[in-house]
Amino acid sequence: MGTRELTPRAVIDVSRLPNVVFAHHSLLWWGTMGLALIEGMFLAILIGAYFFLRTRVVEWPPGILPPHLLWGTLNTVLILVSLVPNALVKKSARKGDLRKVRIGLLIMCAIGLVALLIRAFEFPSLGVRWDANAYGTAVWVLLGFHTTHLITDCIDTIVLTVLMFTDKVEGKRYMDCYENADYWYFVILIWIPVFLVTYIAPRLL
């Protein structure tokens, strides 16, 4: 069997290209951003619905007091504080610094769980049931929307933390941590409008 020479041809040799990349280089980043875009759209429409419903009645909130600020504000503070450990996770994931990543992730898990705990007090503090009237419906669904994200990202973070303490640590994991941090930034970001609409808007409108 004579191995016939094909004509010499130009090739691009990619064997030396990196395979652990971060930010908008990685496919994962595009996935995360796509998700964020979709969720953001949900939120935008929900907020639109909130103000649409507001125009349908004279009194807002109708016949009841606006929600207590205590728990909501507490949660806002906590969530904003989480910016710091989140930044730590992101930065050290980029560097591949396992110790710092573990610390950061543990803190994030703690913050996430506490935030959920506080959230459990937030719902009663709205002072209205979802099936009382359109106002109740709107605020419950808004808060519920953010809570869903809190829960999912919490679970996500916990699983990731567990992985970082096993022997499954590798470049890919650091990429996951990095994107998980990006997603947490998104959860923080959307909390601001949700907080303003749920807690502040009823006081102004």
């Binding site: 130009a10 990349v21 429409i45 649409f52």
Partner: protein, 644 residues
């Protein structure tokens, strides 16, 4: 990235073939079927499934024509008729049009046309398929259970609300929406990532094939539009099941809110269905005029601007609600504006035909048929943009005629053009030209015979969604004409099935590039091997194969023991990094089953959301849990990108 010259001899190529084949092939057997993740096999499933739903919904349409062919006919009870037309509309929109034109075509063809070895997030792709399949089964299963939705494909409140729609029919509709749109959103993310990160070196954005451009724009539109419909159906089901008050006027809700949210999705959806068609038409026209489409930039810009404008026109579905005149005339103007980019594309296509060397084959026939049919739909659309004219024909058969001209013209004709065009690539065999021509002419005449008379019916006052009409109305003859046309369409479809069957059983082998077309997908064998390209290609111009240099470089240097693909820079597509694609897995299927259980359970008790979340979480964890050996292998050869 520098290119070097080296020799590849046949033996090396042969070894590489076997290596890659073992590496990329899907697990065999029935059980293995549930682990497939390659975009070609998932893409084929999307094609087949969407086409089956097309046939089923078509049968429902035939039943309606049968019922309407006689006045005061008692063939079908109003109750059943309501279920039939609702299921027909819902299935055609959510289970056929979007899945076929967006999910099927983009899943199968986008990675091939950008020269990638697989789609980005292949497991998500498999998940998207199963969740869509379950949604479809839910809808048609419900119809057989006499639980078919019966409030129209838009399910306006209060008719679809808890007070006027008892039972589970509307809940099933709402959850079906959640299923299918979840799937569409998944595919959108995959397509966007694939297009931006997995293009062949040299395929900078301004060299992206027009077909890929339109699928990309559609992917973005899906991201902005589908959340709206998922939300409207979710708010509806919340009102129905846990007593929220979004649409209850007595407690500060408003039925118009539903219409706004729904049509904010509903109108862009028409373009989500139609834009992939324009991409297919551009590809087919180029191939069969033997020249590239005139005005690449103009076409791209008009597709993009159509995408944007389509979000500013939804209120033209609500002219009759008596909203303030000023606002309405704004939307009227916006609607007219959408016509402009489409007109631009139309003129450019005709100019391409005018300057090309036409070869009339079946795909070309369908493309020309599209030009004719869609033109009529577009022109009646111009009429509907006018508030006074719309107030007369809104919700009549005139509108039925209009949107069937737009949707069948804008989706079904391009679909067949695309199927006849890419069938050789997908199956490796040619379809019969003769039967193809029969198919076209039967369908073409049948279609016009069915839907043109409906314009007249509308003008004579026949409203939509009526299960019968009085004899003295004089609508019977036109309806019978439409019924006759429907028969012709059925024969056309049968011809296609015969054609497909014969080609499958032993059509002429296609060869790599039977049409001498220019897309990268034609650069590999037909059907494509499980790894798509033996050597991932590079690109030298807009028409990849036509503009290729005599020795166009190829990509080498992968570790051929893991599913590695080359990721390139988002804009100019220079080689950037190596990304590893996940292999076959059962988890996407299991996750889809878990999600399905949650969604269906939640129709019966809100608690299903809580206990249903447990299996879903378990499935997802299993999905992402890394495999020990793979971790070892990857760790052994990590190359971190330098920090900048």
């Amino acid at each position: 990235m520098s290119t070097i010259d080296r020799t590849i001899n046949e033996q090396e190529a042969g070894e590489l073939k076997t290596k890659l084949h073992d590496l990329w092939r899907e697990p065999p057997g029935f059980i293995g079927w549930f682990a497939h993740v390659h975009h070609t096999s998932i893409g084929k499933r999307f094609f087949v499934t969407a086409f089956i739903f097309f046939l089923l919904a078509g049968i429902l349409a035939a039943l309606m024509r049968l019922q309407l062919s006689r006045s005061e006919s008692h063939l079908i009870s109003p109750d059943l008729y309501d279920q039939i037309f609702t299921t027909h509309g819902t299935a055609m929109m959510f289970l056929f049009a979007v899945p076929m034109m967006f999910k099927a075509f983009s899943t199968y063809l986008v990675p091939l046309s950008v020269g990638a070895r697989n789609i980005a997030f292949p497991r998500l792709n498999a998940f998207s398929y199963y969740i869509y399949l379950f949604g479809g089964i839910l809808l048609f299963g419900a119809l057989l259970l006499n639980t078919g939705p019966d409030t129209g494909w838009f399910s306006y409140v209060p008719l679809s609300g808890p007070q006027f729609s008892p039972g589970k029919r509307v809940d099933i509709w709402a959850q079906m929406i959640t299923f299918t749109e979840l799937s569409a959103l998944g595919v959108a993310i995959e397509v966007i990532t694939t297009v931006f990160k997995l293009r062949a070196p040299g395929m900078s954005l301004n060299r992206l094939p027009l077909f890929v451009w339109s699928e990309l724009v559609v992917a973005f539109m899906v991201m902005f539009a589908m959340p709206a419909v998922m939300l409207s159906s979710t708010l509806l089901i919340l009102d129905r099941l846990i007593g929220t008050h979004f649409f209850n006027p007595a407690e500060g809700g408003d039925p118009l809110l539903y219409q706004h949210v729904f049509w904010f999705f509903g109108h862009p959806d028409v373009y989500i269905i139609f834009l992939p068609g324009t991409g297919i038409i551009s590809a087919v026209l180029a191939a069969f005029s033997r020249r590239r489409v005139i005005g690449y930039m103009a076409v791209v810009l008009s597709v993009v601007s159509t995408g944007f404008l389509s979000f500013g026109v939804w209120v033209h579905h609500m002219f009759a609600t008596g909203l303030p005149a000023l606002g309405m005339s704004f939307f009227s103007a916006a609607t007219l504006m959408v016509v402009v980019p489409t007109a631009i594309q139309f003129f450019l296509w005709i100019a391409t035909l005018w300057t090309g060397k036409l070869v009339i084959r079946t795909p070309m026939l369908w493309a020309l048929g599209f030009l004719f049919v869609f033109l009529i739909g577009g022109l009646t659309g111009v009429m509907l943009a006018s508030i006074p004219l719309d107030l007369q024909v809104h919700d009549t058969y005139f509108v039925v005629a209009h949107f069937h001209y737009v949707l069948i013209g804008g989706a079904v004709f391009p679909m067949f053009a695309g199927l006849y065009f890419w069938w050789p690539k997908i199956t490796g065999r040619m379809l019969s030209e003769t039967i193809g021509k029969w198919h076209f002419w039967l369908f073409f005449f049948g279609f016009n015979l069915t839907f043109f008379p409906m314009h007249m019916l509308g003008l004579r006052g026949m409203t939509r969604r009526v299960y019968t009409y009085p004899p003295e109305s004089g609508w019977q003859y036109l309806n019978q004409l439409a019924g006759f046309g429907a028969v012709l369409m059925v024969f056309g479809i049968l011809a296609f099935l015969v054609n497909a069957w014969r080609s499958w059983k032993g059509g002429a082998p296609a060869g790599d590039n039977p049409w001498g077309a220019s897309g990268l997908e034609w650069g590999t064998s037909s059907p494509p091997p499980p790894y798509n390209f033996l050597f991932p290609p590079t690109v030298n111009g807009r028409e990849a194969l036509w503009d290729a240099a005599p020795d166009q470089p190829v990509v080498t240097g992968f570790h051929n023991d893991s599913r590695e693909v080359l990721a390139t820079k988002a804009i100019d597509a220079d080689p950037e990094h190596i990304s590893e694609m996940p292999g076959p897995s059962y988890w996407p299927f299991l996750a889809a089953v878990a999600v399905g259980g949650l969604l269906i359970g939640s129709m019966f008790t809100p608690w299903a959301v809580v206990w249903g979340a447990i299996p879903v979480t378990a499935a997802l964890v299993g999905w992402f849990w890394p495999n020990k050996n793979e971790v070892e292998r990857r760790r052994s050869r990590e190359i971190w990108e330098p920090e900048n």
